[in-house]
Symmetry: none
Subunit: 217 residues, 4 copies
């Protein structure tokens, strides 16, 4: 069991390259952080609890992250790297002609809803931290929402809308999509079904991008 011979050369004192065991511990800590993030308000997620949840001690936590924020940052980063391109691809995967645009619009709406459903707590946190002025989170947020936004801009340019304002339009669209997806539950509670919401979202997308009325109606 104790054949920890691994890490070849330098067994330095400080943060040396990963190492099998270390990688696992780190992952356990990240997962634990996620679990807590989904159950508690951010401000209530404490190092001690993460450690307990991960089955280690606080001291161990500090060997991998300097504070909770850093761990969260890592999580958010992973997520953004996966989700940003995904959302962008949904936008880019269509020519947004009158004929295939509607289907694309629906796909985009669905994509946002699905992504927010899957990562609600981290996404919320990214928003929060960004609003509070944290630049590292802002970068992540930009990667995340910027991707689909730029895709929208690209489409708008390609379709060469007359005197359009592609950046504003894209910004408005992404804002709308993100916010509706984030508050879908609240909106349902208020009287709008998810089916209706995706329809409304798609309509706004379609109209904004193509300038014409969706064929659906």
């Amino acid at each position: 069991m104790s054949d920890e011979v691994v890490s070849d050369a330098s067994d330095a004192v400080i943060d040396r390259p990963p190492g099998r065991r270390g990688q696992l511990t780190r992952r356990r800590l990240l997962d634990a952080t996620m679990v807590l993030l989904e159950a508690l308000p951010y401000r209530d997620v404490k190092v001690v609890d993460i450690a307990r949840e991960a089955g280690t001690s606080p001291a161990t936590f500090y060997q991998y992250f300097s504070d909770v924020e850093e761990a969260v940052l890592a999580i958010a980063d992973e997520m953004a790297s996966a989700v940003g391109p995904l959302l962008a691809s949904l936008v880019s995967s269509s020519e947004w002609t009158d004929s295939d645009g509607w289907a694309a619009a629906l796909r985009v709406a669905d994509g946002f809803i699905a992504v927010w459903d899957a990562h609600r707590s981290v996404l919320r946190l990214i928003d929060l931290a960004t609003d509070e002025g944290d630049t590292r989170f802002r970068e992540i947020r930009t990667r995340l929402l910027g991707a689909p936004a730029e895709a929208f801009v690209a489409v708008a340019r390609r379709r060469g809308v007359d005197g359009g304002t592609p950046f504003a339009d894209a910004g408005v669209l992404v804002s709308m999509l993100a916010h509706v997806a984030a508050h879908r539950e609240g909106l349902e509670h208020w009287g709008a079904t998810t089916a209706e919401l995706r329809h409304s979202m798609a309509r706004v997308i379609f109209t904004t991008i193509t300038g014409s009325t969706p064929p659906s109606l």
Copy 2:
């Protein structure tokens, strides 16, 4: 109409009916809370600091609120009572005909932007707390955004849109407006001027409500 009325006692720590001097102190505490809220992340707003800022002691704070959240709640409540109706009136003040609709749409967009500029920190906090499941904040949020949303619904009904889904449409609109207004700065940073944004917002409103293309273009 300066009716302080109510205060059903559900609230604070003490029971005795306020009293002049006490009302002043309470106000000072609320103002101090606001000041801090604008300067710091919510989680960093401490009772000690509120007290200092208000020129009293923590003990005094606890004579009026049982914790920071309660003070914040009071602030949010006041704000919602003022802002909700305002936003709703912007929506209701037009017949949304093709001729006057565009002006109304612009007014609504401007209204949201102005309100968010004036109350950014509280509004952010209401969103955060609501998302974290706090029901008292959710109620406030509903009063706040529900007002314009229902106004949109009323308009949609009056205009008798064919097979419309007024609730979903209104929800999407309000979500868009709130989110864009909240992140205007970020969007500008990214490439969309405020002027363009308000235009895009208005266009989405107008199209969604009237079903036709804005005359502006």
Copy 3:
């Protein structure tokens, strides 16, 4: 097999199984608590003081006990485990015949006096807490006084007193012994020497158990 085991977690704040160093600290804290308990009224024993007396910090205290009561409970528990059986054995160690009963009665009286002299403050506290309805302390008190009481019952049964009421008799005896032992000092102050008191105690014991008059007179 990497079982973190269980550790029923019913107890303190932490779960991890003690550990040498920790055991020592815990002991120091308990001892410090005892010292203070002997010098001050219970309600005046503060965590800060215990920590100081033990040469640590309050934070450390909380790593072992969740409040003063829990520490006191541990002390009382230890004491009861040692003292209960001792008192019981004093009762059981005689056949309570007319000839050896008197000596036994004196030994029992002496035992109670000695035990109360040695643990006055804790015993007082157990009584207090029990009277106030604390069930955990009640259990301890039952272990402590129940032991000699049941021994008395056993003796009474063995001696087959006619229409006796062994439980009531045992209860009365133990009550008397505990109370006199607890207030010996006050009684002396009032006019009864310890020698006389032990004699009176013994007489009541002897008479109650054997039904006959002590030979001494």
Copy 4:
């Protein structure tokens, strides 16, 4: 109604002779203290709560008592003044002959039980404070238990028991009576009915006082 003309001459600033209204307030405060004492551990009875319970403010409390202890002292004092003589009279009201002694013993037992049932919380408190060294409470306790104790001594002397130790005997008796009465409930829980207990108590009294076996058996 506002004819508060009363208090003739000096309307001094500080504690002037009672005054109708003041007496009432004082009484209300004492009663409130009692109520709390019966519901909470002594250490948890706070000035604020007494005031609330009495329907006044803390400031008012301080016009009558300098702290909670003083109020409690007043209550204890009243009680002792009423109860001490009562218990003494129960002892003195018999010649303790073989014929009427048993009835007297039963009456005394009943008396202690009744008194403790009626004043349990105050009596407990007196004991506690006395044990902790408070001399004012000790005096009260002496008045309370000293009364029946001295009555026992008087009886013993009158009956001229041979080489008796009247003080020790009386002390033991009163201790027994007080403790059993105080813990009657606990003893019942353990297996001794109240009827049996009063019998056992009476037997110990009778035997100790008269030196003979009670006729009852």
